[in-house]
Assembly symmetry: C2
Homo-oligomer: 330 residues x 2
Amino acid sequence: MENRTISFRSRPRIVATSTVAGTKECRGVIGRYVETALDDDMYGESTYEKAERKMLKKVIFGAIENAGRRAEEVDLLVSGDLLNQIISASFAAREIPVPFLGVYGACSTMAESLAVAAAFIDGGFIRRAVAATGSHFASAERQYRYPLELGTTRPPQSQWTVTGAGAALVDSVGDGVRISAATLGKVVDFGVTDVNNMGAAMAPAACDTILAHFRATGEDPSAYDLIVTGDLGALGSRILKDLTWEKGLDLSGNHVDCGEIVYNVIEDEFQGGSGAGCSAVVLNSYFYSKMMGGSLRRILFVATGALLSPVSSGQGESIPCIAHAVVLER
Amino acid sequence: MENRTISFRSRPRIVATSTVAGTKECRGVIGRYVETALDDDMYGESTYEKAERKMLKKVIFGAIENAGRRAEEVDLLVSGDLLNQIISASFAAREIPVPFLGVYGACSTMAESLAVAAAFIDGGFIRRAVAATGSHFASAERQYRYPLELGTTRPPQSQWTVTGAGAALVDSVGDGVRISAATLGKVVDFGVTDVNNMGAAMAPAACDTILAHFRATGEDPSAYDLIVTGDLGALGSRILKDLTWEKGLDLSGNHVDCGEIVYNVIEDEFQGGSGAGCSAVVLNSYFYSKMMGGSLRRILFVATGALLSPVSSGQGESIPCIAHAVVLER
């Protein structure tokens, strides 16, 4: 029997979060929930990459501080990001005196890092960990696509990489949102080669993990207040609903995508937000607040990642994708 | 108290390994131990990146097969590599029907993936996992340094990225080498900026993790037949012995570095081997064979990684490094 869903018997707790987001992001629904709203997307730094790293460092320390802890009390940092060699995470970790596990799951990193942190805590190996990730529109554009200075036109199926970061402090004790289970993703590739259409590429991976989760748990979507995907965007979200519908699973009543809701729709973003920071910011600000406030009781958080690189696309490859899911309860 | 060493009470077992290595590598000490010795470093592929990916896929399936298992019986693949967005691991995972956790620890990946696999098994979440990584000289050169076609002269402090891959099947049952503990690394940066001198950059990270390990366990180096580092090379290995000596720890009697021993010394490699594939191949062929054969009983395997990228170096940054250690017993 397939065994992709793991249960965390002690249900580790997200006792605090921290988020930072850019100017464009804060004009949307998360604006009232984000801890640090930037008024300058460069964050006072000289390069986009340094701004991204500073955001990530800010939220990691922020989550520790918001939990009333010192860094020395944290046993593990699980983090990754979109940049080559995950330099945002690695360089942030350099300034944080905590053991570090670097992970790479592209935009699925928030779910992957939460699952790893919860497993290390529930396994009894550590007491508390920080799970964190982020992204920056400008660093992602120049690494994956074109330098902004070229002024390249974006096609209508594209999304806009979120400038922002989010961190969660996961603890073995204390009050917070509980992590009760995780369903680990397999790599799924439906042959999409359009690097501007991440939603279409990632939707099959989300579908695969969601189906595996419900098969393993015997639950149906009504067991969750919301099934929250990471950054499929408007088009990808519709594709996911279609794919799951074909498999006999109706998500239409309670599915929402962080990428679809993060921006007030204006012309530029087309299908909505993307990037590792997208689900990290929306989960750790908006959804965390709603769960702690009691208006959401149980969500399935499914972050999706497109595991391509410019090199793989340049060598004619399609886009392999993955989705990891975690069950969050209050 | 600092808590970086975690114990695996059930001592998960490496029940099988698989390795592949390039032509130059197989002329050295590992030649007699490697499972698949290439006679063509392109491995029949059209690009270096595809050759690297094919090696990684080969050893993942190889470890599963050598354990007498089918892929469907494996619950988790933990893998990463040096390429941007770890495309070798992600694209290999696309062809393997197993849940995938992508990790990034540069050349420390073999130890990081073994630690994560052991934690998931010892925590009771899964039964068996594959930990795997690899590298290719030519793909690493053109990504981190210069295209080979330029014929750039290498400085004497440089190392040679190993063309090869290694995988270990870690199981909750069966006969094999036991993983009894892991000490997770912190990011350490002593300010080295020379991207051709990885040994000097990484040695302080190895020192930090080894000291933390002995502090936590109360052991001294004599508790191990060997303390095996990943790819410090000849110079880095000497620096490590100096640094630990200054801290009152004498490694001179039983320290060996995979990078230092992997090649028969000829002019080109200078300080020896490096790359995620270096420690992966040497551990999973030579050392695994020695442990299963009984001539080595207990080793501390400390793989080191340099967490730089060409972008971070181009922006004037020094090289943050990390080392993860696992205790292997027979």
